[in-house]
């Protein structure tokens, strides 16, 4: 009974901390949906995958969200047709590379500036690398949940449809544009039915409705994720994880596992890491600070609202391997 009570308290504590950030993420997502013209948004996004990865990874400076708030925003970016590299860069880097996290890390590790520097450099590098890898896949749709694909701009499907039907003898209303290519009127009108062009009153209704629906859906997933994280924390003694090892490699694995299970919010995780600073290697602390914001039990469910399981495995595997390798180099050669 006591264990159950502890698990319940822990569960509530995770939610009390995470839901305000989810609210912030949903707010940004709804603003993007309703007030940002998706065509303009896509027009300003860099087409180059390397640039896109950097822009996405650094966008967290504009949208300070932690790992609960980044999911609705990244999903919205994909739905609005932003390049893959931008959306995935944002998903992975925004929880770390933003002013709030910088401030809290600086407060916690004031005496170890190398930890602050490495945390941001490694997170940025890993996020950019993974988003580059994903942008090799030209059409991301097979990796995404059907409901996300459903909302993505139809342009590509439209092109493939046009290619399969005869170029001659098409019915419908056409507009003879200056480009010389006749433009199909009825299809394009539906495709670009962007909410950003609607009157303000409609926008407000849509804005609210979207916030409520995203809060309901992602909130429920967050509740489940937090319940799993709390249960594991209460029923698996922490000593088991920490006893995994103190060596240069084993300490990193232990801290990555701990980061996944504890599911602590990225805005405050540096204070938690600080309590291990005297007993764990610098590399393993960095592994905690870099890997935790990207992947944790509480957030896995949220990410499943974007990706199919196959893509989740790629994301998880790449992030884990890259974190392990970079922090191992730090353990062996830097500190």
């Amino acid at each position: 009974m006591n264990q159950l009570n502890s698990a319940f308290t822990l569960f509530l504590s995770l939610l009390v901390e995470a839901i305000p950030f989810l609210l912030l993420g949903v707010l940004f997502s709804s603003l993007l949906l309703v007030f940002v013209n998706e065509r303009k948004l896509i027009a300003v996004m860099p087409k180059n995958p390397i640039l896109g990865a950097l822009v996405g990874s650094l966008a967290g400076c504009l949208f300070p969200v932690c790992e609960c708030g980044n999911v609705p925003v990244a999903r919205r970016l994909l739905m609005q047709g932003a390049p893959t590299s931008v959306a995935i860069g944002f998903l992975l880097a925004a929880p770390t590379i933003n002013p709030i996290v910088f401030f809290s890390t600086r407060t916690a590790f004031r005496d170890q500036p190398e930890v602050i520097l490495f945390r941001f450099a490694i997170s940025l590098a890993i996020a950019a690398f993974i988003s580059l890898v994903f942008s090799v896949q030209r059409d991301l749709r097979p990796l995404l949940q059907p409901s996300v694909v459903w909302m993505m701009p139809i342009s590509r499907t439209e092109q493939s449809l046009a290619a399969t039907s005869s170029p001659l003898l098409q019915s419908g209303t056409f507009l003879l544009g200056v480009t010389g290519q006749p433009q199909r009127l009825d299809a394009t009108q539906i495709t670009f039915d962007s909410p950003s062009q609607k009157p303000l009153a409609d926008k407000l209704v849509l804005f609210l409705e979207n916030m409520v629906q995203e809060l309901r859906e992602l909130g429920a997933i967050l509740v489940l994720g937090s319940a799993i994280a709390a249960t594991i924390q209460v029923f698996v003694p922490r000593e088991i994880i920490l006893d995994l090892g103190q060596g240069p490699a084993t300490s990193i694995l232990a801290m990555m596992l701990l980061a996944t299970i504890v599911s602590i919010c990225s805005t405050v995780d540096s204070f938690f890491a600080l309590s291990f600073a005297s007993t764990f290697t610098t590399g393993s602390l960095l592994a905690f600070l870099v890997f935790g914001p990207m992947i944790d039990l509480k957030g896995l469910g949220l990410m499943m609202s974007i990706f199919k399981p196959r893509a989740m495995i790629y994301l998880f595997g790449l992030a884990a391997l890259l974190t392990f390798l970079t922090t191992l180099v730090i353990n062996l050669h830097v500190s």
Partner: protein, 268 residues
Amino acid sequence: MSASSFFQNRERNRRHRNRRSPFQQWLEVLAIGSWGGLFLKYWLTGKLYLLIHPNYFGLTVVGGIGLIVVALLRLLYLFRGQSASVVGGAQHLNLFPPLISSLLLLVTAIAGLMVEPRAFASPMAAQRGLGESSALTRTRPQAFRSQTVPEDRSLIDWVRTLNVYPEPDAYTGQKVKVQGFVTYPSVSSGLGDRYLGITRFVITCCAADVYPVSLPVKLTQNRAAYPLDRWFEVEGRMITETLGGKRQLVIEAKSLKSIPEPKNPYDY
């Protein structure tokens, strides 16, 4: 099917998927509002102290108010019969059907309103490692006051002081007055039944990261009079003893006064 009717069908389907029954729309507003209410209730009743470090209270309070505002505004539109499904565009996911996710949120919020969160006790302390090492994990004390009168030091002050200068003899004879709950040291620590641990949890951010700090207390009688998890104020003086083959600082208790569990059981 021609391309244009394909897109029209698709658009129609999208709107159809988006349409939820009025009952479901009310339910989701209720679910979101109840979480907002729960956050504010924890804040007003002081239970938030059990869940999160006071530095982050603002986050929870603003979050709770935000949730209530969203729910109220949506309620206003529901009363007016306005729904964005008419406007189109909002989509939604199928990891859970809307009804299930609303119910899940609502049921957990109601559980939160009915079941009071409780401060962690001795089993959690044992689980989180009530050893010597756990008290030593923090590198630097956040505040170190060497001028402090010894009996003004809290339990965590003592543990931090001891971290900075771990020679027990340096403190022998100093007066002690600390508060905490009772834990029984494990058999392997070499402490008999005339010893107990006076313990407190330290919180850095949320309850997921609490860790226990503890000092052994030497009693004049059997510890059975001091049940596990009960809160006491221990007064006495510091002595050095060799316990389990290790020299360590022990509180020699002069008196143990039973106190109620503090509103804020954690230390910082």
